[in-house]
Amino acid sequence: MSGVLFQIVQFALTAALAPLVTGLVRRVKARLYGRIGPSPLQPYRDLWRLLRKEPASAQTASPLFFASPAVAFVALWLASGLIPTFTTDLALASAADLIALVALLALARFATALGGLDVGTAFGGIGASRDMMIAALAEPAILMVIFTLSLIAGSTGLIRIIGFMLGGGVGLEISLSLALIALLMIAIAENGRIPIDNPATHLELTMVHEAMVLEYSGRHLVLVEAAQMLKLLLYLSLVGAIFAPWGIAETDTPDGLMAGLVLYLMKLAVGAAGLGLFEVAIAKMRVFRATEFLGGALLLALLATIFRLIAETI
């Protein structure tokens, strides 16, 4: 019974926090650039303003064009609700599997790319093809990371992995640190952050995600933007849940739940600040160097698996 309640709370929490996290990253970046920057609450106002605007769309748009943002949003919301944030006592705990998570992310990406292609403009097509190129490289890398984690924890289920990490059965391991670096690189690429894509620009030559969703407006754009914000929150929660699971409550005591919630918020704040700092410190790559960046992530994940296997055979 409590599992259902916590699951609902968690879905509400992820949807409510996602714009705040994006706003926080923007705020940190603006401060580091020496500007004051908008309030971290600005994304909420942006979404609200877009919601009231009349949507305009191309004449060539088919129903697919209008359906794809909704599909992407629902898939990402479901995925972000699966990851345990403050407690492991969730109604959907048995479905919280890393491979299911990757499948949901792939579904969202597929839907968004179809929406980009649907209208038949050049920008939508090039954005979709670039996004697919990045995805084709990121997906094997994230699967290698999952293999490493499952070799260590003995399961691809998130609850099992978190339980294993919290149980103290694992110390500082090479393969874990390599997997962490690989996962961070994948998260940066998948969220379209610098150095792969710049979320703050509309420069024709370099944009990836923005090009793909250029045709959307009004309430459709709200779904697209909210899905993107949820994706950022999802990756932050995932890294937090696997590599810094401290505080996630395994029993239903009010104190434990409260501590889990506060620690979760702190983890998100630290993650957002770290991302902002990283983005300010680094320059954007050419689109075609993204293959090298993600190839590096894939090889690091491969190394993590190799080292895990040696540690087991020796």
Partner: protein, 225 residues
């Protein structure tokens, strides 16, 4: 139980420092710019120094503290500063390497690491696990250093590859119990001498060929191109 977890922690930290050395070697394969390569080399040496100091504390071996001090001051400090000075003098700070292609090079790197692991695995169960994994990591660093030397054209980056090999050797020495200090001292000293000689060579090569791209030396040797 406490004793056991403490030992496991010692083991993990030693491991992590060695892994950082390997990761930096991997980064050297990926990096295209000379200043970036030099900074990565400094990071690698700093990690190596940390590994040496940690091993000294674990094994209660005083001479390893000397090794750590040498690595920190010379290889993490003096050599990178000297190389930065050198490339400024040679006006190649902005040099971007034309490498064989980052992807294939890194794939070859992973292959070499797998090879190192396969070579070390049959050493036998008599040695402790730490020594063996340490040896696998050190061998990987040495092989990656060789790969850097093969795939790079610029003379300075080849020297960095050479120093990377030397770091791998030191890592192996540090991981093995009871290696006398004299060996390490002589290795470190010979590398310093080599570095000075390289510096002199660079100026001579550039004076004669107007470049540090060793590609141009091939035609000079009379090889068919």
């Amino acid at each position: 139980m406490d004793q056991l977890s403490l030992a496991a922690f010692d083991y993990d930290v030693a491991h992590l420092a060695s892994a950082l050395v390997l990761l930096a070697a991997f980064g050297l394969l990926y990096q295209r710019r000379l200043p970036g390569m030099i900074n990565l080399f400094a990071l690698q040496s700093a990690a190596l120094g940390t590994a040496a100091a940690w091993q000294a504390w674990m094994q209660d071996a005083t001479q390893l503290y000397a090794t750590a001090a040498i690595v920190w001051t010379l290889k993490a400090g003096a050599v990178p500063v000297g190389l930065h000075w050198l490339i400024r003098r040679l006006h190649s700070t902005r040099t971007v390497e034309t490498v064989l292609g980052i992807g294939p090079t890194m794939l070859a790197g992973v292959g070499l690491i797998a090879l190192a692991v396969l070579m070390v695995t049959p050493i036998g169960a008599t040695r402790s696990a730490l020594t063996r994994e340490e040896l696998a990591l050190a061998l990987s660093v040495i092989l990656l250093g060789l790969l850097i030397m093969i795939t790079r054209r610029h003379a300075v980056s080849q020297v960095i590859g050479f120093m990377c090999i030397e770091n791998g050797v030191t890592l192996a020495v540090v991981g093995v119990k009871g290696m006398p200090l004299v060996v390490e001292m002589s290795v470190a000293f010979s590398v310093m001498v080599a570095c000075i000689l390289f510096g002199i060579f660079f100026f001579h090569i550039r004076e004669r060929f107007d470049t540090l791209d060793l590609h141009f030396l091939e035609s000079f040797r009379g090889e068919d191109r």
